[in-house]
Amino acid sequence: MVHVLTRAGVAVGAALLAFLIVGALVAVGGVSPLDGYDTFYAGSLAGGVSLGFTLTAAVPYAMAALAFTLAFRCRLFNIGMEGQLLWGGLAAALVGIHVDAGALTIILALLAAGVAGGVWAAVPILLKLWTGASEIVSSLFLNYVAFYLIAALVSDVFQQQRSTVATTAPVGSAAELPVLVADTKITIAPLFAIAVAAVVWLVLARSSLGFKIRTIGANERVARRVGMDVRRTMVTAFVASGAIAGLAGGLELLGNQFAMTPAFSQGWGYTGIAAALLGGATALGSVVAGLFFGILDAGAQNLQLELDLPSALSQLGQALALLGAIVAAQILDRGASARPRVRRDAAGRARAREAVR
């Protein structure tokens, strides 16, 4: 329990620090930090509309963080979430455009999104198990492949007629996520994300699969020794991770963008990693960090709109928060390791040779 609180404290501290640094940068940009914080708050948390922006931005972060977390606990790095969510978005779009099954439409579309993401994730993990190639590099490269393929598909195959920009047609109204609060962008997407978080938590904390995943994450060799089916568990974890990332794309499409374009993603597949790590690679942490990043995004957007400050401040803030969390975590860890026999995952980390293998 203390451990968890400490980790949470670290994350919060890091976030605060990032906040302060961004405030400093705002000042450097010639704007009073107070004005900056005010505009920031107005853009992210003040009122239904702003909350809508925040939550809409938060969902893909939180989902990507959840996806990364699941694989990460098994000592696998799913860097391919970007590609997985792109395929998820495309799949949801195609179903949403061509299928009208009333209430079922959304479910079908999301299902398609999850499957698309899961299939795309199967490639790197199988490659790793068959050839030893690092899933980090292969899943990352598949992001680029996905991006270009989808760009080609959207503009050449699924292109909406009568449009000058590359985009698919928008999904039918049956596929749009219902809005929870009128006149805002608050849809059921955040609820869905929370549900996914609950499932991830259940799996990790209460299921046999979770037990195996966490054991492999702690020490793969021991897992093998006691007879766990390491390969199957790894594939399951990684593909599930991909499915969640695909779902992230699906939710974004059905709840926010409604049509697939090459510029669909804002890089959640990468910043989701930061959110996951900031959240200590836990389900709850992923949701909270995702929310935090959503606030940063919405707030920074408003800063750009009103005060002409670069929205890249959000990106910077996210990276700084992560950096702070890492530094603090390591320093705390070292303090705890004054005893010589605390090998805190060192043996496990040694096995995490994620170098290109």
Binding site: R206, S207, S208, L209, G210, F211, R214, T215, A218, N219, R221, V222, A223, R224, R225, V226, G227, M228, D229, A338, R339, P340, R341, V342, R343, R344, D345, A346, A347, G348
Partner: protein
């Protein structure tokens, strides 16, 4: 050899501490050295003094502080208090290169060499003699000269990773000589040597002493120490107990000093009530991979209620064979039968389901998840069976089980939630044992079960193994320690180069014959023919 002091056995004070000023004979002296790691006091105000040309044996059980002390002398650790005096100059070494420059070298128990480089390249790295350009010819020439002078045959151009352990050890000694060290520390050098090579090492050590080097020889094998040391220092619980002259010491005296009282008595072994054959391994072959030894034609047979010891120097295929029996390595030929059923192609899980348990040799790397709790580690063999359903895990039940086992196995310093990495080696071993034994196995494979344990913990483990045997379990014990095997086993088999050699031996065991077999000398008979029936 230098002149020796002759303290009476009861003296607790080493007069060599205060040599005459300007004596010039004292090569190394350690004054008031203390070191603690967190709550553990590894060295407690240690004083020591060694002359030039003196071979000093350093003995003590695991955890007595011998390695910590020599690590401080060699500059690997920085002491909390005290200092090291070399040739009159006071030092507090901050890094190994400081110690190297002062003329101190240490030959580690497990060769600390860069395996992917040649001998010459490894030697080129030595701090005190490092040049900017890597002059291969010059170093090779000097290595050959040193090798001749000290009788250490090694080809400088060979890649270290391809050398045998005795050869690697020779490289380490050459490193020390190349560095012009006058003080050479050898940490348990015979642990990795077959009996034949031990003799030549002892010769080399005597030659080093004759050439005026001061040698510290750490070993827990009292016979060896008594053979080559001039004086012997006994350590216990981080402090020096006494330093005695070789003439005044024998194994009993040393053992008593090491343990601080009477050596714990081994309980009398009852003869085994042998049942049916529980585990039969016939002509098994395991393919070799990188860094593993090929197993060819290995056979053994263990009955219920019996302990079979597998003797052999480390690196002759024992872990590979044990892994194959456990189901972790694929067998390319031969059969493995457990309780009469063929398990050759079954998975680890399936074999475990049929009653096979194993305690691996590397508890930190392969046996335990150090960052996880005691309950978790014990749960590794129980999570699917204790309560819950196939899909969920009943953590409460696991913790209850762990609680019981902590008590039953007297695991100290642990609650169910303590990360296993925080426990001492002995308690970690107990966790592993508890985990495996709590599955009520019919057959148990125990590899190096007492590695790194002090006498008390080792005795506990031996007790448990014997008790389990008496309950009808068939046990295979692998150990490089012949004494341990001769103590525990009902029958013994030897492994050499991946095969079981010689016939399986019954009690009483011939140490002589075992030594020959371990060193690769065939003495007729073969374990394989026993199993043809």
């Amino acid at each position: 050899m230098s002149g020796l002091r002759t303290p009476s056995p009861s003296a607790r004070h080493d007069p060599a501490l205060h040599p005459d000023p300007g004596d010039g004979r004292v090569a190394l002296s350690v004054e008031g050295v203390s070191k603690r790691f967190g709550a553990v006091v590894a060295n407690d105000n240690v004083d020591l003094s060694i002359d030039r040309g003196e071979v000093r044996g350093l003995v003590g059980e695991n955890g007595a502080g011998k390695t910590t002390l020599t690590s401080i002398v060699a500059g690997v650790y920085v002491p909390d208090a005290g200092r090291v005096v070399v040739d009159g100059a006071h030092h507090r070494f901050l890094t190994p290169s400081d110690a190297l420059r002062a003329g101190i070298s240490i030959v580690h128990q497990h060769p600390m060499l860069v395996e992917n480089q040649t001998v010459t390249q490894n030697v080129a790295l030595v701090a005190s003699r490092r040049r900017r350009r890597f002059d291969r010819q010059a170093i090779e020439a000097e290595l050959r000269r040193l090798a001749d002078e000290y009788g250490l045959a090694v080809d400088p151009r060979s890649i270290v990773g391809q050398l045998s352990p005795p050869e690697q050890q020779r490289v380490e000694i050459l490193l020390a000589l190349h560095a012009r060290s006058n003080i050479i520390i050898l940490d348990e050098p015979t642990a990795i040597l077959p009996p034949g090579d031990v003799t030549s090492l002892i010769e080399t050590v005597k030659r080093l002493g004759a050439q005026g080097k001061a040698v510290i020889f750490i070993s827990h094998k009292l016979e060896e120490v008594l053979e080559l040391a001039d004086t012997i220092t006994v350590m216990r619980a981080g402090a020096v107990v006494e330093t005695v002259d070789r003439a005044d010491a024998d194994a009993d005296i040393l053992a008593r000093l090491m343990v601080g009282g009477d050596v714990p008595e081994i309980r009398v072994r009852s003869p085994s009530a042998r049942g049916a054959v529980a585990l039969r391994v016939s002509e098994v072959e395991v393919a070799s991979e990188a860094r593993s030894v090929e197993v060819r034609g290995a056979s053994l047979r263990v009955s219920a209620g019996e302990i079979l010891g597998v003797a052999g120097v480390d690196g002759n295929g024992q872990p590979e064979l044990m892994d194959a029996i456990a189901g972790l390595r694929a067998v390319t030929a031969g059969r493995i039968e457990l309780l009469g059923g063929d398990v050759t192609r079954l998975s680890v899980e399936e074999r475990a389901g049929r009653g096979l348990a194993h305690v691996p040799e590397d508890r930190r790397g392969q046996g335990l998840a150090l960052s996880m709790s005691v309950a978790w580690n014990i749960g590794l063999r129980h999570f699917q069976t204790t309560g819950g359903s196939r899909w969920s895990v009943d953590y409460r039940a696991l913790r209850d089980l762990a609680s019981e086992l902590i008590e039953a196995f007297d695991i100290r310093g642990a609650t169910v939630d303590t990360p296993v990495g925080d426990l001492s080696g002995g308690n970690q071993q107990k966790v592993m044992l508890a985990r495996e034994l709590s599955t009520q196995p019919k057959a148990l494979l125990a590899s190096n079960p007492t590695a790194g344990l002090d006498v008390g913990a080792a005795a506990f483990v031996h007790e448990r193994l014997l008790t389990t045997r008496d309950q009808g379990c068939a046990i295979v014990v692998v150990s490089p320690d012949l004494d341990e095997l001769m103590l525990l086993s009902d029958r013994l088999v030897v492994m050499y180069r991946g095969t079981t050699v010689g016939a399986t031996m019954e009690r009483p065991f011939s140490r002589h014959r075992l030594g020959l077999l371990m060193g690769g000398v065939q003495t007729g008979g073969s374990a394989a023919t026993e199993f043809e029936s």
